[in-house]
């Protein structure tokens, strides 16, 4: 078990190292790197000072180590626009995004897995066919378009829900959250639905495919032959077996939902990191872009690491170090 954790941790560290090289190349190798960290209107003095500080006059491998050591000290530069350290800027926006992403992914998973299991268990029923048709639609229709329609219907035409912003927030552990206040909650509904729909379609497909496959296995046949009730088969056997693919996807989807939040946050003016990065790209606030990339990479690696740990907890074969 411990060996497994160490092995996975080293793997995560490796991926992070590769990512840092890619980001370094992407940012420092394309174009003139000094333009990326210094605003175009900066004076000659500032330029030269920055070149020296970042070591841009040194060989490339030394530059990489300077980049890494700055990174490890949490120094990712200052935003041109807000003139505060980017880490602080992004840190301030992160709770809004996390709140939105977590609510969406959890809701999509619970609902999607239930519907998917039903559709996989009774593939020929009319309800299942409806579920699948809706999921094909949710899969195909671009997410920004769904957001638009949600605003048109629920905000503009019906006037039930606000179309943008975070609404009232309340502080928990010194961080502002929307979901505990009624007004904040009403603001979170539409963006969360928007973000969740695509994931919902995905979860339905996955749970359905998994269910169909599992129901045909000898494990289920044997359980039936032993006279287990369908409820016992679904609750004890199926749910346990399907948890493996679901958790894998849950982790991956958490990461990709962070990315998709870019679109949803822009549509609903949700003040999270996604909106920040789009705004930053618009005004070429490059330090923010670099920091965002590294943050996302870091979150990805962390999520994958955590998923592996959860696996080890729920799957006895991994817990005991048996290779699958």
């Amino acid at each position: 078990m411990l060996g497994f954790i160490i092995q996975r941790f080293l793997q995560a560290a490796m991926v992070m190292a590769v990512m840092s090289v890619i980001v370094f190349c992407g940012v420092y190798a394309i174009g003139n790197p000094i333009d990326i960290v210094i605003p175009p209107e900066a004076t000659q003095d500032i330029r030269e000072e920055a070149i020296r500080r970042l070591g841009l006059d040194r060989p490339l491998y030394e530059q990489y180590f300077i980049f890494i050591s700055n990174l490890l000290q949490g120094d990712l530069g200052r935003s041109f626009v807000y003139n505060i350290p980017v880490l602080e800027l992004i840190g301030g926006r992160l709770p809004a995004t996390l709140e939105l992403v977590l609510i969406s992914v959890i809701a999509a998973t619970i609902l999607g897995v239930s519907l998917g299991i039903y559709a996989g268990y009774r593939p020929d029923s009319r309800i299942s066919k409806t579920i699948m048709a809706v999921s094909v639609l949710g899969f195909s229709v671009p997410s920004f378009w769904v957001g638009l329609i949600l605003i048109l219907f629920f905000a503009v035409n019906l006037g039930w829900l606000p179309a943008g912003g975070r609404g009232e927030t309340t502080e928990i552990w010194g961080v502002a959250w929307s979901f505990p206040t009624p007004n904040g909650l009403s603001h979170i509904v539409l963006p969360a639905v928007n973000l969740a729909l695509f994931k919902l379609a995905m979860m339905i497909r996955l749970a359905r495919a998994g269910t169909r496959e599992i129901m045909l296995t000898d494990t289920i046949k044997f359980a039936r032959a032993a006279g287990l009730s369908e409820t016992a088969i679904l609750r004890r056997h199926l749910l346990k077996l399907i948890s493996i693919p679901i958790i894998t996807i849950f982790g991956l989807e958490l990461g990709s939902t962070l990315a998709f939040a870019v679109v949803t946050e822009t549509i609903f003016s949700w003040p999270g990191v996604g909106k920040l990065i789009i705004d930053s790209i618009g005004v070429l606030d490059r330090p923010v872009m670099v920091a965002y990339l590294i943050l996302v990479a870091f979150l990805f690696v962390t999520i994958n690491f955590v998923v592996d740990l959860v696996f080890a907890l729920i799957d006895p074969r991994i817990r005991h170090g048996v290779s699958k």
């Binding site: 094909v136 229709v141 872009m289 990479a297």
Partner: protein, 293 residues
């Protein structure tokens, strides 16, 4: 049960059984024709600024503008006839989707087959990179690349390719690797038959069915991704709006009830994407032996 002569005929006979798929195929063909002949079927050339009048901007469907004809779907903020703009936008969306799809197909297939054929360190290197990239959301990658490269058609296609080639590489690699391991390939390589022949005769044909499936899905994805990037203001220049840009242009007016500027281009976009996906699903089902009970 039909035993028609060619595989293509048999494929079509099976395809024809699903009425919805046939309908979707008809829609796709129709939309491609509309895009090809946009200049003929449109009442107006929406890219010719001399044609546009601000007097006509943001008018509802059915409005008769200064051109003297009915704007069936209304006009956009620049005074373009929306129907014409949709036809032209369709053209750009399909162009970019196809271009990005084919370039990714070529690059991805080349990488995947190379990895499977050569093996060893090169295989490990290519596939590790591909897997790393696949775990990263395509939209984010495209976003960053567009941000780094700047706006324009070529840059946009480049970003879409970078975001999508990995899917093709994975697919081609999987199919080629399975075939590469078979005894007859080893035997073929032991004879003076050149390696190129093995790749062209054996590996490539075996990758074709799964690649066709991935290609349909990825063309639809390219179109959707392009629309998303354009909507975020990171796609094409405003002068030649794609469907995503048209939707984006209309978005601010939605709050004031002028829904048509965003909604109609969106409907066109969705019909296009859903139709391609339905055709893709059908093709995938027909290629998948596990679903053939």
């Amino acid at each position: 049960m039909s035993n028609n002569s060619t595989p293509l005929r048999r494929f079509w006979a099976e395809f024809r059984e699903n009425k919805i798929s046939v309908l979707a195929l008809v829609v796709v063909v129709l939309l491609i024709l509309l895009a090809l002949f946009a200049a003929v079927v449109s009442p107006q050339n929406p890219y010719d600024l001399a044609n546009l009048s601000l007097m006509d901007s943001r008018r509802p469907p059915g409005f008769v503008g200064s051109g003297g004809y009915i704007h069936v779907l209304g006009t956009d903020p620049q005074g373009r006839d929306l129907l014409s703009a949709i036809f032209y936008g369709l053209r750009i969306s399909i162009q970019i989707g196809l271009a990005a799809g084919f370039v990714s197909l070529t690059i991805g297939t080349a990488l995947g087959i190379t990895a499977a054929y050569v093996g060893g360190r090169i295989e490990a290197l290519i596939m590790r990179l591909v897997d790393l990239q696949l775990s990263f959301p395509a939209i984010l990658l495209a976003l960053v690349i567009v941000a780094l490269l700047g706006q324009g058609k070529a840059q946009l296609i480049g970003a879409l390719v970078a975001a999508q080639y990995a899917y093709f590489a994975r697919t081609a690699y999987g199919a080629a690797k399975a075939e590469r391991g078979k005894d007859y390939i080893e035997a073929a390589l032991a004879t003076p038959l050149s390696g190129r022949l093995v790749v062209m005769r054996h590996l490539l044909p075996n990758c074709t069915p799964p690649l066709i499936v991935v290609a349909t899905v990825q063309i639809a994805n390219s179109i959707s991704l392009e629309a998303t990037l354009s909507f975020l203001g990171l796609g094409l220049p405003v002068t030649e709006p794609s469907l995503g840009m048209l939707i984006s242009n209309g978005f601010p007016y939605m709050m004031s009830g002028r829904y048509w500027i965003s909604v109609y281009p969106g409907v066109a976009l969705i019909i296009l994407i859903v139709a391609i996906n339905i055709v893709g699903d059908q093709v995938r089902d027909q290629f998948n032996p596990r679903l053939r009970k």
